[in-house]
């Protein structure tokens, strides 16, 4: 094996490795990127059905309803709001320890045809003053917090946020 041929082999292999890595990354990106949507985003433009995305906002005070399904499976429904709009979320699972009404939450799941968001994961981690950055951003966009007035207030003080009388349509069931 000459030096030249060996180098050619190496180059070929490297190209193959790099190429397949790029191809894999791109195809995986196409199907598996998970976007973040606030309730107002959904009211403005419905996300494509069947595609998973993350929904975040505040858990609307007084909206948490615990049910038991026909098969004895516990189920939870609550509304996620960013002020102007709210979306109903259905979740079958153990809620995280830090899940509270009035606090920031991020959920992962798909929007059903009835406008109910079926969550497969509910994240409310960290401590009780923590606000998920996406949620803070969504609140800022919906006009409930002006970034010019400094850092977002701690989550506990957002509890007073009332959902506006929802405009008709997709803002909850």
């Amino acid at each position: 094996m000459t030096k030249k041929r060996r180098r050619l082999w190496l180059l070929l292999l490297c190209g193959l490795g790099l190429g397949s890595a790029t191809a894999l990354t791109l195809t995986a990106f196409q199907d598996n990127l998970v976007f973040f949507r606030s309730p107002s985003d959904i009211a403005r433009e419905a996300p494509p059905p069947g595609r998973a995305f993350r929904l975040g906002g505040l858990v609307e005070t007084g909206s948490v309803v615990r049910e038991t399904g026909p098969d004895g499976k516990p189920d939870v429904r609550f509304k996620v709001t960013d002020g102007p709009n709210a979306v109903t979320v259905a979740y079958g699972g153990v809620l995280p320890d830090l899940f509270r009404e009035g606090q920031g939450v991020v959920t992962l799941g798909k929007l059903g045809p009835d406008g109910v968001f079926r969550a497969s994961e509910v994240l409310a981690r960290h401590d009780e003053t923590y606000m998920p950055p996406e949620v803070a951003d969504a609140l800022k966009k919906s006009g409930h917090w002006n970034p010019e007035q400094g850092a977002p207030p701690p989550a506990a003080t957002w509890n007073t946020l009332e959902p506006s009388k929802a405009p008709a349509g997709r803002s909850g069931s």
Binding site: M1, K3, R6, W9, L10, L13, C14, G17, L18, S20, A21, L24, T25, T27, A28, F29, D31, N32, L33, V34, F35, F36, R54, R66, T68, G72, K73, P74, G92, G93, V94, L95, D97, L98, L108, R125, H126, D127, E128, Y130, P132, P133, E134, D137
Partner: protein, 654 residues
Amino acid sequence: MIPELGHFALALALALSLLQVGVGFWGAHRAEARLMAATAPIAAGVLVAVGAAWACLAWAYVVNDTTVLNVVQNSHSAKPLLYKLSGTWGNHEGSMVLWVLILALCGGAVAGFGANLPSALQARVLAVLALVSVGFLGFILATSNPFDRVWPPPPDGQGLNPILQDPGLAFHPPLLYLGYVGSAVTYAFAVAALLEGRVDAAWGRWVRPWALAAWAFLTLGIALGSWWAYYELGWGGYWFWDPVENASLLPWLAGCALLHSAIVVEKREALKTWTVFLALLAFGLSLLGTFLVRSGVLTSVHAFANDPARGVFILGLLAAFVGGGFLLFAWRAGTLAPAGLFAPLSREGSLVLNNLLLCSIAAVVLVGTLYPMFADLILKEKISVGPPFFNTATLPLAAPLIGAMGFGPVLPWKRARLLPALQRLWWAALAGLGAVLLCLAIEGYRIGPAIGFGAAAWVIGAALADIADRIALFSRPRAALARARGLPRAAWGGALAHAGLGVTILGLAGMGLATDKLALLKPGEATTLAGLEYRLTGLRDVQGPNWTARRATLEVRNGDRLVTVLEPDKRSFAVSRMNTSEAAIHTTWLSDLYAVLGEERDGGAVVRLHHNPLAPWIWLGGALMALGGGLSLSDRRMRVSAPAAKGLKAGARA
């Protein structure tokens, strides 16, 4: 007084490190023997100073000195001693002190055991290490002083995050840091080699034990972290492809590639440029991990800091060390002439393939980890990249890697033929195929787990076949024992590490068959999962040392036989006002029974039950991999030719 001493010791360490940089580079440049000889004692001085600083911090924690801000924010007098000590590194400032302490330990080891290194190489290596420590000591002193005072002192501290109060997590950061910082030593060797323009077998022999030790510690650290996530977070999962987890996986992948390519440099003097590149890359990824975790760009349990100044500082360090290293590489790599030639099908060829695939996986993981950050910055779009992406993108690359893993060790150096290799491995391949068919027969059409079991059987079988072949177990069984004694420990270690990965894959495949169930049970009611009956017999309140809890009692029966009693908790910690779920786990090694208590309502309690087949094998495999690394380190060849390995070995056992 003592905290001020600690602060002073940090400043002293910074001054000594600066001195070490100057003396080391200047001495090596001018070939001044006396200057070069001075670097080792200075490195010892840095070690003493940083050690003293850490001891002062530990003292403040142990006596619960509430005039120290760091103690107030992260400790409490009611905490057990172990968590007071582990609390020193359970926060941003303290963990950086630990980082620098381990770096100083590495410097001390190079100084103490490196007497037989060429003196110019030793001086340059120590100078580069000191440069790294200047960067991090400067970072601590400028932005994250752990000895800041607070006045007036509050009556007691605020406590450590309760989910961090766990023996597994107490040792997770030191092990991980041993891995991260160990790669600083290989980085220093790479930079020194580029400065000297020479990489030879002796260099490879020096770098290999460090790469191996760093990799083994990183393996242990990652396995421990994953195990902790499994039993503590109560989600029943073991790996979430969380950016912070990826940050530790990236240097592991690069370190794994490095330790394999260093073998080629040592044995065959080929792949020199590539090995140097990998050494730079491994440390770069370690620093990137530190940046991601410490700068607060990510939100997770690990991100203590959210001061933008810190992020900018670490980003600057990252740019300086990685950029500087790669610039030097671009400038000087041409001087490293390759020596050994080899055919594509050979041990070297298989190691090249290994490196290529490991680096491709690392590249995919890196893109997936960083993309959301860039998307947020540039596209103003909040995106997350989750497990589905990483699984679909990395598994196709892992499959050929696992296939090649079996072949590599049985191929001879320089030039190989396929047929003899196949002859040695046919029964490992058969075992793999058998495992696939067995899984399909028992579990039905479950392709993923079946392939996983097949891969595990193949990897473990190939490791056994390799050892059997080396000791001539089948061709001359009588002499096998004598040959086994004579076989170098590095061969045993390599086979053990490969088999360890096989064991981990076995666990992953088993977890692919995991089932779970959510049920609302009233006391006396029962539900079944995986053929076992879980009956809720009681709910009561429990008082712990610094928490109160609600505890459920679940009796697990197989028919009439009582298998175990599971008692999952929901704890609330008064000091930090936090709640945690304590999962109850019963392991039989064949499977884990895992129960989590949810909320109570309608006179009953929501419980989540998991049946996790083979789960403990995931971490057992990690321990085996690290053990294999330790066994290789204890090889006589490494000790005789490079005395530093002795120090490493002692470290590996500690």
